[in-house]
């Protein structure tokens, strides 16, 4: 730009220094994990910018990241450990010293560990240190650990891993540079925020088509070339309509299917038999296909075998059929014809037919070719990499329905039929994924695994292969407090945090002593049925006078609603005051061309008596004498806290939390000996490490010999076994067979029909459970929530800047529907569900499905929480739809109530909600209802200021 010319005669310094120091670290304003550069002046944060070298955000930063200053200096920050002195929920606390706080926690937890480790339920929320917290829970010995995935995205994770070894977002990304056609399902403003925005900007500049399938047209959907505003929960049917069209036209990638999916594997047809629907396997257990050249069954994975994709074959005394035949029979059925599904999706048949044609055209007429030879895991050599440039992404809107697992699987099926998984222009895996379920652990926590004073012998969360892997007692009762991995939710691979409070309160399946949580606002916006949850947290047993959930320990950096309901508060630091790790053992920051992980380093020192939760957990572990956290002499193994652990902990020999700069001299990646200078190397590189996959290994990773070998070398996989995509998911059939009365592990009677119905090995569609509840006609509208982009996954919209963007919410109502009911813009209405009634303000909208209302989520705050003034709009004009959402489904025969969740994965079904609306009386306008009683501000919290003049000191200094 050249130098600024100051010929105007004004005193203007165009080259001021920004700060006196710059430190890199990782953002934590949401779950994206962008790299940031923090400029400091006089020890204060002058400016936070995106790090251009960083693989996640490449220099950009979102609204949340840029508001980090206000988050860091928030008056809602806790300042000292607190012990409850008043009634739970009142906010009456006394300040205590850390020694006392940790002493108390140790006493409580030690007694539990000696008695029955199950009495500790340890659940972390938006925790980015799950490989530590989970491992800690394992050392403690409780089976009751999980993070927030159960109410977030487990349907995506489970469907992706069980189908193809990786899932949307965390485990893969669209090939933004090459894709020609991009379909996004149910993604509002959410994950993965900066990379999606960057990618959309890129594909729009390139002229690729972007289709957004979403009942609500905001954010990303607003810039789509085509918005498909279908009815909530019907995405699966819409996708099956596309599949129907593609099959009818023969527009599938038959070569890809026969080589890299189980399309050609033979499925036994033996109605009533114990092997019905299982794969035909050879003596060595390997799956068989029908060789169409040699006309006999042959090992499906043998490259010499030419699998038949259709037909029915006699195999000795049995009949077997290729997976593709079964699949085609199902989806060619007229019930999936575009005009038929239109009735439920609200999307006309012509649109489905056209989009199917566009998909086929992009996939098969616009191949992307990379002149790079590669060899597949079966030894076939390929001269070049040929891609089908159709990519897809899906998230919350798919995940948060009770049919989300199957819907997500149907999307993967569509991708696989087009041959667009991990190819140029398609959806691409991010290392360490793909991983097949065989390469992943099974869940741990059965009776034989849990003993006083003993660690759990394996990780809590895992991937069941069949009923034998469930965590249930002999009578089929759940072993975990959240009922994950029970017949209620067999594939609850992220746990079911949303079920913990209800179950603990009921003592179902058993009572607990202590609920220990981190960074999870489970009494408020992360709870279904918020008001009822508050009641359960404060409810006492009339016989003993004790709280039904006897003890609650909570760690948070801020005075969130949940703090008010805890007995002991361990105040956490802000993200700019701590060490942290985005680990390959957990959720790294990889991209499709290479693995990557990162750290947080403290860029400023805490000015309060707070400690990073991870340090506290490690300290607590040593005080409890947990194996793994103490040496043989009983002293702390990681006296240097989390930083010490990051460098010196090894999960397996040579495999630690950080993959970069391993080995004594720091030259190894992935696996290698502990490097005492590892952290310094990370800091010198901007707090991240980034590897690069060899050229011949970049695509078709699941079946690419070079990639699989590379993955073994890096420690991502133990064996270089190809990961063949599972169109037909045999583990599901194993559960179904159990429900039909086969095998040693069968569901109790009351679960049989439900398991049988929902464990179809091919994707099915059924209406969201709420749609089938008796009397649902009284609630004609679907109701959804989403967080605005400026707040997505950001815990703390009390942020002084972000709350100027959003501090109140309205209910968006379709204009046509409202006109019918004489509801106008700005009216106040009562919104009712089978669970409750709230009063809200209306805004009419064109950009929403005609049978759907929606609002911004988590805007509402409890009066007094977050150090906001009790009359803040967050308390008076902002509401939570959560109050309308029951956490349980209605009673079934026998009185049993299932969690309001997906029956396969236990994913919380937030988006199944049905409501009705009626106009409020004129005198009722102005404030939302219900409003929770205000909570007191702990004495240790400073009064919030009336004005912020942040930055003034920088100007003064500039002038000085």
């Amino acid at each position: 730009m050249g130098k600024g010319d100051n010929s105007d005669g004004r005193d203007l310094d165009t080259s001021p220094t920004v700060g006196d120091e710059v430190k890199t670290t990782t953002c934590y304003m949401c779950a994206c994990r962008c790299g940031i550069k923090v400029h400091l002046r006089d020890g204060k944060i002058r400016y936070i910018q995106g790090n251009r070298d960083h693989p996640v955000n490449k220099g950009v930063l979102c609204a949340k990241g840029s508001a980090g200053i206000m988050q860091h200096y928030s008056p809602a920050r806790l300042t000292k450990p607190l012990r409850r002195v008043g009634e739970r929920g009142s906010g009456e606390f006394e300040e205590i010293e850390w020694d006392e706080a940790l002493g108390l926690a140790t006493d409580w937890l030690k007694a539990i560990r000696e008695r029955d480790p199950r009495e500790l339920a340890f659940f972390t929320g938006r925790d980015q240190s799950q490989s530590l917290t989970g491992w800690w829970g394992q050392q403690f010995g409780t089976p009751n650990y999980a993070a927030h995935g159960g109410f977030c995205s487990v349907n995506m994770a489970a469907a992706g891993i069980y189908t193809m070894g990786g899932a949307f977002w965390e485990f893969g990304e669209p090939d933004w540079e090459r894709t020609e056609y991009f379909m996004m399902f149910g993604v509002a403003e959410d994950h993965d925020s900066n990379p999606i925005k960057m990618g959309l900007g890129r594909i729009k500049a390139r002229g690729a088509k972007f289709v957004s399938v979403n009942p609500v047209r905001t954010g990303y959907s607003a810039i789509a070339d085509e918005w498909v505003g279908l009815r909530p929960g019907t995405d699966g049917l819409f996708v099956m309509g596309l599949i129907h069209e593609l099959l009818k036209a023969g527009k599938v990638d038959a070569a890809y299917l026969s080589r890299y999916t189980n399309a050609g594997w033979l499925v036994i047809r033996n109605p009533g038999g114990a092997d019905d629907g299982l794969f035909l396997r050879g003596d060595d257990g390997a799956p068989m296909a029908w060789d169409r050249a040699r006309q006999h069954a042959a090992p499906a994975l043998d490259p010499e075998t030419k699998p038949a994709l259709k037909g029915q074959y006699d195999i000795g005394d049995r009949t077997a059929v290729p997976v593709f035949q079964i699949l085609a029979e199902r989806y060619l059925d007229d019930r999936y014809a575009p005009d038929t599904v239109a009735g439920q999706t609200g999307i006309d048949g012509a649109t489905v037919r056209r989009i199917a044609a566009e998909l086929a055209e992009a996939a098969f007429e616009r191949e992307v070719v990379i002149e790079q030879p590669w060899t597949d895991a079966f030894g076939r050599k390929h001269d070049r990499m040929i891609g089908r440039p159709v990519s897809m992404h899906a998230m919350r809107g798919i995940s948060a329905h009770s049919n989300g697992f199957h819907t997500c699987r149907s999307i993967h099926l569509l991708q696989l039929l087009l041959g667009s998984v991990d190819c140029p222009g398609g959806f691409r895996f991010k290392p360490p994924y793909p991983k097949s379920i065989e390469a992943l652990p099974k869940p741990t926590g059965r009776a034989k695994d849990v003993h006083p004073n003993m660690p759990l012998p394996g990780p809590h969360l895992g991937f069941p292969r069949g009923p034998e892997d469930l965590l249930v007692g002999e009578d089929g009762t759940p072993r975990r407090i959240d009922k994950a991995f029970s017949w209620d939710a067999p594939l609850a691979v992220h746990g079911m945090m949303h079920a913990v409070i209800t179950n603990a309160w009921k003592g179902d399946p058993y009572p607990i002593d202590t609920l220990f949580m981190y960074m999870a606002n489970m009494s408020w916006n992360s709870a279904m049925n918020t008001a009822e949850t508050a009641r359960m947290l404060t409810d006492r047993d009339p016989d003993t006078g004790e709280y039904r959930i006897p003890r609650i320990i909570y760690s948070d950096a801020y005075y969130s609603e949940m703090v008010g309901y805890a007995d002991l508060i361990l105040p956490d630091t802000t993200y700019l005051e701590r060490w942290d790790c985005m680990s390959m053992l957990d959720r790294p920051i990889s991209h499709a061309d290479g693995p990557a992980d990162s750290i947080r380093q403290p860029v400023v020192a805490p000015d309060r008596d707070v400690r990073p939760f991870q340090d506290v957990l490690i300290d607590l572990g040593a005080r409890l004498g947990l194996p793994g956290l103490t040496g043989e002499d009983g002293t702390a193994k990681y006296p240097g806290g989390y930083r010490d652990y990051l460098v010196n902990h090894e999960r397996k020999p040579g495999l630690g939390p950080l993959a970069g700069w391993r080995g004594a001299d720091g030259t190894e990646s992935g696996k290698g000996a502990v490097n005492p200078d590892q952290i310094d190397a990370y800091i010198a590189n901007g707090c991240f490490w980034k590897g690069r996959i060899p050229e011949e290994a970049r695509f078709f990773k699941n079946v690419n010999r070079a990639y699989l070998d590379y993955a073994v070398g890096m420690g991502f996989l133990d064996e270089a076994t190809p990961i063949v995509a599972q169109l037909y998911c045999e583990p599901l059939q194993k559960f179904r067979l159990a429900a039909r009365g086969h095998g040693d592990y069968q569901p109790p009677e009351r679960h049989r029909a439900r398991v049988e119905a929902h464990f179809d090995p091919l994707p099915i569609w059924y209406p969201p459970f709420e749609d089938a509840v008796e009397g649902v006609d009284a609630y004609p509208l679907h109701a959804l929530t989403q967080r605005p982009m400026a707040m997505y996954h950001s815990w703390g919209s009390q942020n002084a800047w972000l709350r100027q963007l959003h501090s109140r919410n309205v209910l968006f109502v379709p204009r046509a529907w409202a006109a019918d009911k004489e509801i106008e813009d700005g009216d106040w209405v009562w919104v009712s569900s089978r669970n409750g009634r709230i009063k809200v303000k209306v805004k009419l909208s064109e950009g929403v499905n005609g049978d759907t209302v929606w609002t911004w989520n988590a805007m509402g705050k409890r009066a007094g929480a977050w150090n906001l003034s009790p009359d803040a709009p967050e308390a008076r004009q902002a509401f939570l739809l959560n109050n309308l959402i029951d956490d349980l489904l209605p009673e079934r025969e026998g009185g049993y109530r299932y969690s309001n969740s997906d029956p396969v994965t236990g994913q919380a079904a937030w988006y199944d909600l049905r409501v009705s609306i009626e106009k409020a009386a004129a005198e009722e306008a102005g404030e939302i209802a219900p409003q929770a009683a205000p909570v007191k501000r702990p004495r240790s919290l400073p009064p919030a200021p009336d004005e912020s003049r942040y930055g003034e000191t920088f100007r003064a200094r500039r002038r000085a």
């Binding site: 080259s15 950009v60 840029s66």
Partner: protein, 247 residues
């Protein structure tokens, strides 16, 4: 009253904002606030930051609204900041000479030492792009990050306005709109960039790029409308064998 430069500057620095890719995420809004609250116009104060009527000074805002009905409807995210007009009335009306348009690059600035906070400029601006800082009592406005774009203490790549450097969707571009050969001018030419409310006559420098034409049911004409059924030879899934025979 304040005079404008005698000759319009040859260089006309400004922004080009792409309404086709703006998703309304507010990244530009907050990064602007963050840079500027400690930068040239520091501080940008906030009143009642944790209270009932929270407000503050922001130099860039995004307005979201719906336009059109039914199939023609759109959700529009519209970022708005000072457009650095060639003939800015906000400068002409300034009684103290605080508001001025720079000779060299056309940037419109407020010299706070001369500003008495009378607010005339805000009345004059038809775009509502001026912000009275209630805590300081002076007028604030977009400076095009005057303390970044020429800043020799910054990496070359960072010498753009904060909003441009942070925009995740690449919906914001910065450059010399007085140079027809500049990247921004070419972008404006290619995409049909337009002036906001040209009828007001202030000749804004900033340009907006309109949404690209849609490709959906309303424009589907030239695209395939449906797939042909596979030839039935070979019975159910007969096409599979034909596809496989080529493998």
């Amino acid at each position: 009253m304040t005079s404008l430069p005698k000759q319009p500057s040859a260089r006309k620095l400004g922004l080009v904002i792409d309404l086709d890719t703006c998703v309304g995420c507010h990244a530009c809004v907050v990064n602007c606030k963050e840079w500027n609250t400690g930068g040239y116009p520091a501080p940008l104060t906030d009143q009642n930051p944790y209270g009932k009527d929270v407000s503050g000074a922001w130099l860039n805002r995004v307005h979201t609204f719906e336009a059109g009905e039914g199939a023609d409807g759109r959700t529009v995210h519209f970022p708005k900041s000072c457009l650095h007009c060639e003939e800015p009335l906000c400068v002409s009306v300034c009684p103290t000479g605080a508001s001025y348009k720079r000779n060299d690059d056309g940037i419109v600035l407020v010299d706070e030492d001369r500003c008495m906070g009378c607010g005339l400029c805000a009345w004059a601006c038809p775009y509502g792009a001026r912000e009275m800082d209630m805590g300081v009592g002076v007028m604030k406005k977009c400076t095009l990050c005057i303390d970044r774009i020429y800043n020799e203490n910054l990496d070359e790549a960072d010498r753009v306005p904060a909003c441009v450097s942070t925009c995740p969707a690449s919906a914001r571009h910065f450059g010399d709109l007085g140079d027809p050969g500049s990247a921004v001018s070419q972008l404006v030419a290619e995409r049909g960039g337009y002036d906001l409310m040209p009828e007001q006559g202030y000749k804004p420098t900033n340009k907006y790029l309109p949404p690209r034409p849609r490709r959906d049911a309303t424009t589907a004409g030239s695209r395939p409308e449906r797939l042909d059924e596979a030839r039935p030879e070979g019975g159910f899934l007969g096409w599979v064998d034909r596809l496989l025979s080529a493998v």
